[in-house]
């Protein structure tokens, strides 16, 4: 048996707060972060609710103690830097030089928040447009800013597989440790709201004009969100050596492809089924040992039905307790797997199951009922977390109590 990979630090910023305490308060008071658009200049301001991080870029720079207000970081970078630093501090890591420490980050649209400002001028006037607004367009830009902010050099890379990006970054991070390439790795993802994604998902007709209702019969689409979630993964040996508190164990993971359609999930949830069953097999757990599922649960017609069918294929009629925290944070795209990994670790530590807000009626074909009230003292040992993305990219992570 190989050295296990454990979680020693977590960091988060989303529409429900800039740390774990604020996030917990929102869960306890059943207050979602979904509301009107305030940070983006779009014609959809009044008709499409989103889950925004409640700070402007300038305020984020202040929170990061960055004095140079002229630096032109993308919002994606700022969110990522903020949560990654928090994760590092929460792991009690003061120097990233002491052990082989890497960064694997994920996002879906990189620095699009600045690119769309640039293109607005550039398209009509190819010689115009502030050029510093385009240099952060690619997905690697935010990763390098985070790496430089934290002083990480050992391994720096970026994944982008749409809405499963972060879950895949966690898998890669874990494997880099298992292969002995790193002692510890700060993983996961950040994405900011953009006009690009707001309009993109709008053309797919999968936005709810109200706050979303995951797994409800009347669900009518998702709300976009933004944020960042980072965790510190370490080899158990490294964590024990340095006397770290082990916050959770990454006991299983898998990525599978639905190979059905570029954007839609298959009717039998095949990719989701494969991801969940392979992750279970890796963790050596039986389905009945899973105590809680943090579902992908975007609240689109297609996802929730397909995911629910896959869950029933795995768990039969005794599907574990489950909820979609996207009813609080919106769908944060490339950051979703990271944010939900942080929530999973918090759930293990606090023994909580989060409510799935706004659920009333089960989907007729499924008859699955998510948890609608916060459960304290939940008795959870193993959590399964799903993240599914465009390109049929389906990922499952299993976190276990230390």
């Amino acid at each position: 048996m190989t050295d296990r990979v454990v979680v020693t630090g977590i960091g988060i910023i989303s529409a429900i707060g800039k740390n774990t305490d604020e996030s917990l308060q929102h869960f306890r008071s059943a207050t979602s972060g979904i509301g009107a658009i305030t940070q983006i200049d779009t014609i959809h301001k009044t008709n499409l609710p989103v889950a925004e991080v409640k700070y402007s870029n300038r305020e984020l720079l202040n929170l990061l103690n960055i004095a140079n207000k002229k630096c032109n970081y993308t919002r994606t970078s700022l969110l990522g830097m903020f949560a990654a630093k928090q994760a590092l501090e929460s792991a009690g890591i003061h120097s990233v030089k002491k052990k082989k420490t890497g960064l694997v980050s994920a996002n879906s649209v990189g620095g699009m928040d600045k690119s769309e400002v640039f293109y607005a001028t550039f398209l009509g006037h190819p010689k115009k447009g502030k050029i510093s607004n385009i240099v952060g367009h690619d997905c690697g830009d935010s990763t390098e800013h985070i790496a430089d902010y934290l002083g990480i050099k050992e391994q720096v890379t970026t994944l982008s597989t749409a809405c499963s990006s972060s879950a895949n970054a966690i898998m890669l991070g874990s494997r880099l440790i298992q292969h002995g390439l790193l002692d510890r790795v700060i993983v996961v993802g950040c994405d900011s709201l953009t006009k690009f994604t707001i309009n993109g998902f709008n053309t797919l007709l999968i936005f709810d004009k109200e706050a979303c209702r995951p797994f409800d019969a009347t669900r009518n689409g998702l709300n976009l969100g933004e944020g960042a979630g980072y965790i510190v993964l370490e080899s158990e040996k490294s964590a024990v050596e340095s006397g770290k508190k082990i916050r959770g164990i990454l006991s299983g993971f898998a990525n599978a492809n639905d190979a059905y359609h570029q954007t839609a999930s298959s009717p039998d949830g095949n990719g989701a089924y494969l991801a969940m069953s392979q992750a279970l097999s890796m963790s050596n757990l039986q389905p009945n040992q899973i105590d809680y599922i943090n579902v992908h649960g975007t609240a689109t017609q297609n996802n929730d039905l397909s995911e629910g069918i896959a869950m029933k294929r795995i768990f039969g009629e005794t599907v574990p307790r489950f909820s979609s925290t996207k009813s609080f944070t919106g769908h944060t795209l490339g950051a979703a797997g990271g944010i939900e990994a942080v929530f999973s670790i918090m759930a293990l530590e606090q023994q909580l199951i989060y409510p799935n807000l706004r659920f009333k009626t089960p989907i007729p074909e499924l008859q699955l009922i998510p948890e609608t009230k916060l459960i304290e003292g939940a008795g959870i040992k193993h959590i399964l977390s799903n993240s599914f993305g465009f390109g049929g990219n389906n990922s499952t992570l299993i976190f276990s109590a230390a």
């Binding site: 293109y119 190819p126 720096v156 309009n199 709008n202 797919l204 492809n257 570029q262 390109g391």
Partner: protein
Amino acid sequence: MVLAEIIQPSFLVQPNMKVYINGIGSVNAQQAGYTDNFLTEIQQTEQHSIRSIEPDYKAFINPTLIRRMGRIIKMGVASAKMCLNDAGVEQPDAILTGTGLGCIEDTEKFLGAIIQNNEQFLTPTSFIQSTHNTVGGQIALMLGCNNYNFTYVHRAFSFESCVQDAMMLLAEKAEQNVLLGGVDELTVNSLKLIERLGQLKNHPITSLNLLNYKTRGSIAGEGANFFVFSTKHTESSYAQLLGCKMLYKPENTEEITESLQQFLQQNKVQASDIDLVLYGYNGDVKYDRLYTEVKDKLLSKSSVAYFKHLCGEYHTSNSFAYLLAAHILKTKSVSPSILLDDKKRLVKTILIYNHYRGINHTFSLLKAC
């Protein structure tokens, strides 16, 4: 792929594990596809960009799909299919795609529509195709492949991250065929931006003289180069890959040479064993200096070769260097078009050293098999 049984103790390459390149597929600027005649006829240009010669896609992609696909998707999917055909592999056990900028043509299309129509009357196709993992997703869709499918998007580490992942996958389970590739596209607008960022030469050029000008900037390129990696030596094996290493933001040349020495040691290769080094020289006098310094310090005995005058500079251009290295090792011949000296060593071991703007440095070692 079931990961449960495959996580082995901690080392990347198992003792005795060998990784072979068993298939090649390519959409590049030198010929339509990749054949044994590669580089017998050299394409050159006086433009500041080199575009791919696109093959007849109908041979590789269902014609009804071709019309809807963006150019990068066609290049990537066709190159992947060619590669699988070449390796005689129907279904890969993993699909890994590296791309620095992803599907920029579709991204620009959708962004342009948002801006021009003030966020109204939009259609989803270009948005859907703008996602960075579209190429990997489309390959899976074409093959009906349910296996592991990752897309790496980190500048000049994008392709090398695929290589690293492929080697880990093969260490986890030997009996696999991993499909991996690097793909990037040029568009009219992206070329304008590269120019505005000062990354293109600002004077007339001929691509084959790229290194003679000693000025700033380079020429832009694009392409798709896919490979099948396996632990099995087959009739179609081109070369053995010993290892690949990424180095982020070294502070000085010493850090680069130290890292390279470590890498060679790990792979039990002496600098003097390296017959030929493929450098990422791109003609930008500011950054080419680093190659020369490393060459003079550590690699003075090896033949000196370069490749970016043939494919242009792009984030995943190193995948073209892998193609070139594999070709050299299999055909046992070196095109004079890539040589910068006349050492004329018999080439059995190749080091590829590439870096992007002094930030993302990568070393790769390939050996004849």
